[in-house]
Amino acid sequence: MVKKTVFVVAAILLGAFVIGAVDGAHPFGDPGAAPMDDYFLANALNDISAENIVTAIVFDYRGFDTIGEAAVLFTALTAVATLLREGRRKP
């Protein structure tokens, strides 16, 4: 019984947090974070002399994303090599 009460209270708390988070989220369809875009456009060329701002964002400002992409590719290669390696026993 105590366990059930704890679970119910936890569920209500979690629901409240989720509703609050959804309510506080950025409105859908509204292009957000315009100050960041303006910062890239205004400062990328002068600060790091990036003629191509897309590449500057991909490899510098948001390089962490690019690490993720490289990791995805590496994981795909590892999976393929694991599944299809030679010397596999016949079923």
Partner: protein, 157 residues
């Protein structure tokens, strides 16, 4: 995978190398023009797919060395991570080689600094990874067909 006709093979002999040239061009100029590491690497990896289609699997598998692409993959990823970590005194991925526009003229490394170098590193990594995926999947097809693999014959040989 059977080799295709002599027309396809001749065209492959003549023009396949320009794929590599174009891919390297896209990769090296990624910091100026559209493109970059991922796109250039994908273009270079098309070379292996083209060789497989034109010449058939057995001939390509006997010539191509997997360790080269292994090396590409490892060196690309390592250079990428090391360049990212070298900026660590400030932040992860700090562009420590970049110069402001006013003083960026000249020099071996372009003014964008690590952006250009990382583009090349990621290009190497993508080249190795995609080529290895193509080669390994082709080898897997051969493996699952078993020993009763028919001899590879094209239209004319």
């Amino acid at each position: 995978m059977n080799p295709l006709s002599v027309v396809v093979r001749t065209v492959c002999d003549l023009f396949a190398w320009f794929m590599i040239v174009f891919g390297v061009n896209v990769l090296l100029h990624g910091y100026v023009t559209p493109g970059g590491g991922f796109q250039g690497g994908a273009i270079i990896a098309t070379f292996i797919a083209f060789l497989l289609v034109a010449y058939g699997g057995r001939r390509v598998a006997s010539r191509v060395n997997d360790r080269l692409f292994d090396l590409f993959e490892e060196v690309g990823l390592l250079v990428f991570f090391i360049l990212a970590f070298l900026g660590l005194p400030v932040t992860f991925f700090f562009n420590f080689l970049a110069k402001p526009l006013a003083e960026s003229a000249g020099g071996f490394i372009p003014g964008v600094g690590t952006v250009a170098l990382m583009s090349v590193a990621v290009g190497l990594e993508v080249t190795g990874a995609l080529s290895l995926i193509i080669l390994t999947m082709h080898r897997g097809i051969r493996m699952f067909r078993g020993e009763d693999l028919e001899p590879e014959t094209g239209h004319d040989r």
